[in-house]
């Protein structure tokens, strides 16, 4: 399974809170719990890009995880 490019709109939508998904991967949920607040408090493009990097990296390194795979299907179809 490949991970969708960082340029995909869904990554930005997740960290800015524009879209909320029912996710399964626990590490991503805990991380996003912090990142969404971080972007809410500091909505600069630099911070948004930093948060996208973090969540992208998390999924990229867990592509074998069933829950991470399920999340990527939920987010990107």
């Amino acid at each position: 399974m490949d991970i969708p490019s960082k340029s995909k709109k869904q990554w930005s939508d997740i960290v800015t809170g524009k879209k909320t998904y029912q996710l399964k991967f626990l590490a991503a949920k805990i991380l996003l719990g912090r990142l969404v607040h971080s972007v809410h408090d500091n909505p600069t493009q630099e911070n948004i890009n930093s948060c996208i990097d973090q969540v992208y990296n998390l999924y990229a390194k867990n592509l074998g995880s069933p829950s991470a795979q399920e999340d990527l299907n939920t987010i990107f179809g």
Partner: protein, 333 residues
């Protein structure tokens, strides 16, 4: 059965056979064990399939991971070097960490883990070791490195496990507590205690707020991390100082609510598993539950099938949790 309570003699036989073990037991029991491929933490409280919740200073709770693991490394980490715990995790495997309660490593991990480099990129599960409640303040919690026989009071031990080909690890939690319908609470600083709280945005003294509103401090504060409910348990209230202490740190920027009551933990636990979880007992490699759930929900003699394991002074599923059951599954890919 990968997880079970055993005598020290039975456990020693497994160690001498070369098995890879995650152990929990009273300090005296762990000190009787031979060197080998194991790490352990001190605690005399367990839940088993046969007897449910129980306390024993003589027995050891044994989690045998030999059947799923290709190789291991056991690494000692202090309060500073523990920051590598995510980034140095094995590529296809998991890291299992045990940290003595109230140690420098415990405090550092609790406060800083969410900001460690590469948070969550490798599965991390573990627990905070403790003591028999009669020994609080008299005996220090410890972790044991089975390879060296050394017992540590201030450092963490990390067992990095590489899985056999075709297997993948997943960390999960079962938290029966949900946010109640009350006020939104936020805190001005990260920490294990707070005098101030923002109640729906209005600054108040937290101890006075708890007393005035008669909050049951057996129920934790609950934060919603993108759908994952994370508890912060109350340790105590100092009304004179106006200070409230917690068993895990609160963090700025996180919104907390006081939990809804759980009337019957064992019944609610069964209902939760029946309704929410898609778990196979065969895949569960390790689990542990919180001493506060054990005490407040009177789990002695009660079962939490399919979960067994040590009863701990804190649970780790990527970060420190309170009043939560954590578990590790190993799936076949």
């Amino acid at each position: 059965m990968r997880q079970d309570i055993k005598s020290t003699e039975e456990t020693a036989k497994l160690i001498e056979a070369g098995n890879i073990l995650l152990l929990a037991g009273d300090e005296g029991a762990l000190r009787k064990l031979p060197k080998g491929k194991w790490i352990g933490g001190t605690i005399p409280y367990f839940i088993s399939n046969a007897q449910g919740g129980q306390v024993s200073r003589e027995k050891v709770f044994v989690t045998d991971i030999t059947g799923v693991v290709k190789s291991i490394e056991i690494i000692q980490r202090d309060a500073n070097s523990l920051a590598k715990v995510y980034s140095e995790g094995p590529e296809n495997g998991f890291s299992f960490v045990v940290i003595p309660a109230l140690s420098k490593a415990h405090l550092a991990f609790a406060l800083n883990a969410p900001n460690y480099k590469d948070f969550g990129v490798r599965p991390l599960i573990g627990w905070i070791s403790g003591v028999h409640l009669d020994d609080l303040g008299k005996v220090t919690p410890k972790v044991f490195n089975g390879l060296t026989g050394e017992a540590l009071e201030q450092e963490a031990l990390v067992l990095q496990a590489s899985l056999l080909e075709g297997k993948v690890a997943e960390v999960g939690i079962v938290n029966l507590f949900e946010q109640g319908g009350g006020d939104i609470l936020t805190f001005p600083a990260d920490g294990f205690s707070s005098k101030e709280v923002m109640v729906n945005g209005e600054k108040k003294n937290f101890a006075a707020y708890i007393v005035k509103n008669r909050l049951d401090t057996k129920l934790p504060l609950v934060a919603d991390y993108y759908g994952a409910l994370v508890n912060i348990s109350f340790q105590g209230i100092d009304e004179a100082e106006g200070d409230v202490k917690f068993y895990a740190p609160v963090f700025t920027g996180i919104r907390y609510k006081h939990a809804k009551p759980v009337a019957d933990y064992a019944a609610a636990f069964k209902a939760c598993l029946d309704n929410q979880c898609n778990l196979s007992e065969d895949r569960i490699v390790f689990s542990c539950n919180c001493i506060l759930n054990y005490l407040y929900s009177e789990l002695e003699g009660k079962k939490t099938t399919p979960f067994v394991g040590p009863i701990t002074f804190g649970e780790i599923a990527y970060q420190l949790l309170n009043q939560t059951l954590v578990y590790l599954e190993v799936h076949d890919m």
